[in-house]
């Protein structure tokens, strides 16, 4: 629950911080964006243990990846794969929707890369993040 609250705070802080640094309004709200954020927040509770165990890490391109399948029992591996795929689907959709809501679909790559930096900056200690092509633990 604590991790959940931190995550909410991170999202709010993230969008607020980004709002200052980029020309795009990253706080822009549409029902579509809300639905994606809600879906990501719901999923976060399921993903958090895998961030903690190092099975899943944050990539440099604003996505997440299964970096150590060995840390996941065989019976759960497909479920984790599905979670990672669904999360990445949501993240892509979020960047596209924010760009679209700003009336500049071509800003998607920039928005994604800004998000990527901040996701990594705000990752919790001991989570794995991608940097310089390799994985390192925060």
């Amino acid at each position: 629950m604590n991790a959940m609250i931190k995550y909410f705070v991170a999202i709010v802080a993230l969008t607020a911080a980004l709002n200052v640094s980029a020309a795009a309004d990253l706080e822009v709200n549409t029902p579509g964006i809300n639905a994606i954020k809600q879906s990501m927040q719901t999923r976060h509770a399921q993903l958090a243990p895998y961030y903690d165990s190092g099975a899943v890490g944050l990539t440099a391109d604003g996505m997440i990846a299964l970096r150590d399948a060995g840390a996941v029992p065989l019976a759960q591996r497909q479920a984790v794969n599905a979670l990672v795929a669904a999360e990445n689907g949501d993240r892509s959709a979020l960047y596209a929707e924010i760009a679209k809501a700003n009336g500049h679909p071509e800003w998607q790559a920039e928005i994604r890369s800004t998000f990527a930096q901040r996701w990594i900056q705000r990752a919790q200690p001991k989570w794995w993040v991608q940097s310089g092509g390799g994985w390192k633990q925060k």
């Binding site: 029902p31 579509g32 639905a35 994606i36 399948a69 060995g70 794969n81």
Partner: protein
């Protein structure tokens, strides 16, 4: 593999002979720095400084032969052991004249992990457990001609680098035999997997599987001439297949299974391949005989005999149970299947039994006329068509709904208890792969009045944020039924409600122009004190107090002349109005009439939608007040 046979006598000591052997080079195999030492006791020690097998290399390989025989005709090593391989006894025979050779290995609790060094990199490598049994390979000058294995696995595990193909604690036996004549291999295999778990993305399987198969292999294709696969708790499948090696694709396949348990079959072998979606979140039930014929890159025929089969989604949105039928589908000929079902549910509403004749012609399925019992009424479906265009499935149908008790319907759907009957007609509903749209007017009878929905469209229906748009026009709704349903305090009379330009995003109102007004005509008009209090309490405690202070508190019911209220929702703000503009921006919501009469005024013309909903729910605060006349 040509063995090497430039021997050079290097040293002849008193009791042993040492030979240095030339380097060996063959595809997939090479050895350098080979030295053979032959002590007088008949044993032999072979040392290889560098050995390459497949893409693997080993250094300082030492093979000891307890009994070594060398003649001009042949060389043999019995009771061989290798420092790198514990629990493995090797036998090697090589005939110089024939060029035939055979290597066999007797395994006795041999750690599986040590074989990793001999396996090519891309395949998953053993990580634990033991192997017992026999491995034998043999060949001649033309290469490998025979392969035999009879191995028992004890708690064997393996994994590839990214962990997507891995197993743990595998127990079972593998028997395999293959022989080659010219370019054709004939093979036979038998696998009995007793316990342990396997993850082969995306499949996760547990022990209990058995397979016996035989077939052939040449440069162009792998043929499974017959295979019997036992799927635990699901049934037995017979398979014949041809795999095109050049194209890397299935060329032909016939698969048959009798009385397969659909729940386990779907959960273990089909669902992992499905993306997120209604089917991926569903369970199947019952049993089926399956006969699948695949040829030329497509399914040619599929016969399904369903026995008490069923499907239900995990979220309990839909279910169809007790399905029986003999479906003989052909890719290139029209067929009809009679499918009977015992019942089901849609969004919590129970459906009764029925029998439909489904016409099938390739990827087009149709039902000319079908009846689906819904509670105490029925939905009559006409001209249902499901077909595929490109990769997208499309469907359409027309239907009419007759006399469903609203009371039963609302209870089943988990709504407030509503009275009256639900009946209506659905002219044509179609899904074009992206959007569900209704042509014409969707008409329902509710609350003794009518609801007409026009220009209904649902975009992105299975996506993250479905968008519904359309117009709702309700006429002559009975206020008595309506207020009783929503516990608002009794009102009598009739109202018309128009909700035009409605747009819901993710089922939340994003925009609409709504207007509520008394219907035309003569009918009793009464509003109870509770209803007045509730309406006015939307506007604050003062209004309630106004009634309480006056003599009106002695009356249970009041008369009224007209009711009117409007809300234009835009950007989360509802711009409100009433019957008239009133004074100072105030507007009348209920205009009094008769004796005793009461008028309810509203003063706030703009309210956030979220707040209005909260107020409606709590019926507490706001800016309205009852004006007692």
């Amino acid at each position: 593999m040509g063995l090497p046979l430039l021997f050079a006598v290097c040293a002849a000591g008193t009791a042993q002979l040492s030979l240095s052997v030339a380097d060996i080079a063959a595809p997939d195999f090479s050895a350098r720095g080979i030295a053979l030492v032959l002590p007088e006791n008949g044993s032999a020690d072979l040392r290889i400084a560098e050995l390459h097998v497949q893409q693997r290399s080993l250094r300082n390989v030492h093979i000891h032969c307890a009994s070594f025989a060398l003649s001009t005709a042949s060389m043999s090593c019995h009771g061989g052991s290798m420092a790198q391989l514990t629990g493995v006894a090797l036998e090697v025979i090589y005939g110089f004249d024939t060029g035939n050779w055979q290597v066999s290995a007797a395994l006795r609790d041999a750690p599986a992990k040590q074989f990793a060094a001999f396996l090519p990199e891309p395949i998953p490598l053993p990580s634990g457990g033991e192997l017992s049994g026999m491995l034998r390979i043999g060949g001649g000058a033309s290469g490998l001609t025979a392969l035999d294995a009879d191995v028992r696995m004890i708690d064997v595990g393996f994994s590839d680098g990214d962990g997507l193909h891995a197993a743990e604690k595998l127990r079972g036996t593998i028997k395999f035999a293959a022989t080659r004549k010219a370019a054709l291999w004939k093979w036979r295999g038998d696998v009995a997997w007793q316990s342990g778990e396997l993850f082969w993305q995306p499949l996760y399987l547990r022990g209990g599987h058995k397979m016996a198969a035989s077939g052939s292999l040449d440069d162009t294709s792998l043929s499974i001439e017959q295979a019997t696969i036992v799927l635990p708790e699901a049934g037995r499948v017979q398979l014949v297949a041809l795999w095109d090696m050049k194209r890397g694709a299935l060329a032909e396949c016939t698969a048959r299974g009798e009385n397969l348990a659909l729940e386990k079959l779907f959960a273990d072998y089909a669902r992992p391949f499905l993306d997120k979606g209604a089917l991926a979140e569903s369970n199947l039930y019952g049993h089926a005989d399956v006969d699948w014929q695949y040829r030329n890159g497509a399914t040619q025929a599929l016969r399904l005999v369903l026995r008490d089969a069923g499907i239900a989604d995990a979220e309990q949105r839909f279910a169809l149970l007790g399905v029986n039928g003999d479906i003989g589908w052909l890719a290139d000929a029209p067929r009809t299947a009679n499918i009977a079902f015992a019942g089901g549910a849609l969004l919590g509403v129970p459906l009764g039994s029925g029998q439909w004749a489904v016409r099938m012609h390739g990827m087009e399925f149709g039902v000319a006329q079908g009846v689906l019992p819904v509670l105490d009424g029925e939905l009559e479906l006409r001209d249902f068509r499901l077909y595929r265009e490109g990769v997208a499935w499309r469907w359409q149908f027309a239907a009419s709904l007759s006399q469903v008790s609203m009371e039963q319907f609302s209870q089943a759907a988990g709504w407030p208890k509503m009275l009256g009957t639900l009946a209506g007609s659905i002219p044509r509903v179609g899904y074009d792969g992206g959007e569900i749209s209704v042509d014409g007017t969707l008409r329902f009878d509710v609350f003794d009045g009518t609801v007409a929905a026009t220009q209904l469209k649902l975009a992105d229906p299975f996506g993250r944020a479905p968008r519904l748009s359309g117009n709702l026009n309700m006429r002559n709704l009975d206020l008595d039924l309506l207020t009783r349903t929503f516990s608002f305090g009794n009102m009598q009379g009739r109202i018309d409600v128009d909700v035009n330009n409605l747009e819901l995003q993710n089922w939340q109102p994003a925009r609409f122009d709504a207007r509520l007004s008394s219907s035309a005509g003569n009918y009793p008009k009464k509003i109870s004190q509770t209803a007045v209090q509730n309406i006015s309490a939307l506007g604050g405690a003062g209004a309630v107090a106004a009634i309480q202070r006056s003599y009106l508190r002695f009356f249970e019911n009041f008369g009224y002349d007209r009711i009117g209220w409007s809300c234009m929702l835009h950007n989360g703000v509802c711009a409100m109005g009433g019957l008239d503009n009133g004074e100072g921006g105030a507007y009348a919501i209920v205009k009094g009439g008769g004796i005793p009469a009461i008028t309810v005024m509203g003063y706030n013309r703009s309210v956030s939608w979220g707040e209005l909903i909260t107020r409606l729910k709590r019926v507490t605060q706001g800016n309205m007040q009852a004006v007692v006349k």
